[in-house]
Subunit: 386 residues, 2 copies
């Protein structure tokens, strides 16, 4: 069990009540730990805006095989994770085993998807090449110009907002303390993190402090230099359309494409919502929805699925993906004793939620870093520069 | 003075508390009449969505000279109308004497604007041809491809929302009764309109009943056939962007263009709002904001003023312009004694508000139709088919 400092109020203090922080808190509580989540507005963060695509295979990048394994592990846990949450809370998460279709709009796209398909095959991943005709048979709303692509049967989807709501309730029911306050300063005593001072001056002390504050994690005052690499904000603008009943299903699975170099995806939910994402902009802590961002998404989506023209545009939004220096998450103990990281999930926060929660809870309960988490040590950048 | 029916509760009952209904009510009250406005939510209607461009010269259509005269008369009254409203209420209307620049993006547009300019000159209107270079000197954010156009010094702007708020307060202060209920049925007795039954069954009787319910005017149950022509809804989708302080003024006057056959306008307000309008869609009583509508506005605006890309997109909306069969307003007494029309203003409701209010008040107070209103008699369609 976690060693407690003198005067500690909780075993584990999670800073940040977004999707990662809440899931870690819930799982850690299930392991018998006393857990507090510190956040002025728990249930917020990037997952409120995210499309919720669970696509480790379709989104595979060269050189990111460790991340692929983590993503696949998380994806495999999702059905059970969602079922367990539903049983605990009575709330649905919108988890849907739809599969994903990634299509090419021109010869370059086709060549790129062809290489991805070959890579999938070398890794033994389930991924099927489809012709343009087959793609349109799967998704009749696709533009006539679609030249084929990849059908990935195991890349699914979940609704980030429903998931946040369910996790918040699961935490409350499990006895996680939700402390609605700002984290103003990390408390470090005798070279050990011992908790956080809140914006109102209160000390919340803990055996372990878990930083799960997304792109604000490394900006917590009091954090010693070199303990956590910068977690930069990568802005994503996203649209929510509605599919009126007479048009349904409209799309039956996630549809992805690269349009003019931008990654576009359309995620159709069971309740008729159609999420269209996302821009990727590195310009600081700005969540403004811009005319240009919305324009590009609509233009590209229109090229891929012309029929969206008729759909109501219900909502526009922007969130900040937390990007570590190598775009892989920061999981587990830091160089500062008592301080643990669960952040830097970049584009994969929703996907990696179940596995992150399991790995962190295991570490918090046992003090041992599970093998699956080892490649994602927050200290990996310090090591490589040493 | 207006002859009152037995048991009448008011001299004038205005059905519809949009911009036209409120302005008519205010002016009629100033003439000493007892006035009631019937609307479940007064201060609403198409002006809530409108850009508020006051552009009778730039928007001139061939064969619409009577409407031009009405528009110019209203435009000339605007500064005083706004000042009077401000004095009565302490509220600003956002009236701004900016002028308007109508530009051409290709050779066809240029030819069309050239013809409009010649037409302006024949009619003695103030309209100056500018080259592309001169246009960009006036508005440096214009796309390099702009080929010139027309500078119309007297076509200005007002903020429809502020105007509604001010009119509502002016009515309240002047003693207009705001009756917050639905009009369920026109009451006709002895071949005369005598008021309205409300949705809750109440009878509100009046010497004159003024129909100012926009595109719902002709659908009032109880309205005898042939008294009012249909007033069709013409949907307009519109965007509201924000010009952050460092970018201002961004644009200094209204900018218009025809892009791919669609009329586009950008109206920059003093408070940093930039309105981009508008689609024109005839598809019934539908105010859905669609992916296609927003896409087209952003695409065309981006072509005209590429710098909009950086601007926050704050709001999207849709309203219904009330279009009569000839797109000109319906002003004055109808064939049914006691029933008066003030509707069908189509794209010109905000522009025509001051003159409509003055003409209707004059008629309601004196029983004489002013000469300026005569071409817009609601009976003109019945006459032409007879």
């Amino acid at each position: 069990m976690t060693r407690l400092e003198d005067g500690a109020r909780t075993d584990v203090l999670v800073v940040g009540g977004g999707i990662i922080g809440l899931a870690v808190a819930w799982r850690a509580r299930q392991r018998g730990l006393a857990v507090t989540v510190l956040d002025p507005r728990p249930g917020g963060g990037a997952a409120l805006v995210a499309a919720g695509m669970l696509a480790p295979v379709t989104e595979l990048q060269y050189g990111e095989e460790p991340l692929l394994h983590l993503g696949i592990a998380s994806n495999r846990r999702y059905a059970e994770f969602a079922a367990e949450l539903a049983a605990a809370t009575g709330l649905e998460t919108g988890y849907r085993a739809t599969g994903t279709l990634a299509v090419a709009l021109d010869a370059d796209d086709k060549a790129e998807l062809g290489e991805l398909h070959a890579f999938h095959q070398r890794l033994g991943l389930d991924s099927t090449w489809v012709t343009g005709r087959e793609a349109r048979k799967l998704e009749p709303m696709l533009a006539p110009g679609v030249r084929g692509g990849l059908h990935v049967a195991d890349d699914h989807q979940v609704d980030g907002r429903r998931l946040l709501t369910a996790l918040l309730r699961a935490c409350e029911r499990a006895g996680v303390v939700l402390h609605r306050a700002e984290a103003a300063e990390l408390l470090v005593e005798h070279d050990r993190a011992v908790g956080v001072r809140t914006g109102t001056g209160e000390r919340v002390t803990a055996g372990r402090t878990v930083l799960a504050a997304g792109c604000r994690s490394h900006r917590l005052p009091g954090l010693p230099d070199g303990v956590l690499p910068p977690v930069r904000p990568v802005k994503g603008q996203i649209l929510r359309l509605r599919i009126p009943a007479p048009y349904r299903p409209f799309l039956s699975r996630n549809v992805r494409a690269v349009v003019r170099g931008a990654h576009l995806y359309l995620v159709p939910r069971a309740d008729g919502e159609l999420v269209v994402g996302a821009t990727s902009e590195e310009q600081g802590y700005d969540t403004t929805v811009t005319a240009g961002g919305v324009y590009e998404l609509l233009r590209d989506a229109h090229e891929l699925v012309p029929g969206i023209t008729e759909l109501p545009l219900v909502e526009t939004g922007a969130g900040l993906r937390p990007g570590s220096p190598d775009n892989a998450p920061l999981l587990g103990p830091t160089a500062l004793p008592g301080l643990v990281a669960a952040t830097g999930h970049y584009r994969n926060g929703v996907l990696l939620t179940p596995v992150t929660a399991d790995l962190l809870a295991e570490y918090l309960a046992t003090g041992t870093v599970p093998a699956l988490a080892a490649p994602f040590s927050p200290s990996r950048f310090a090591r490589s520069s040493a």
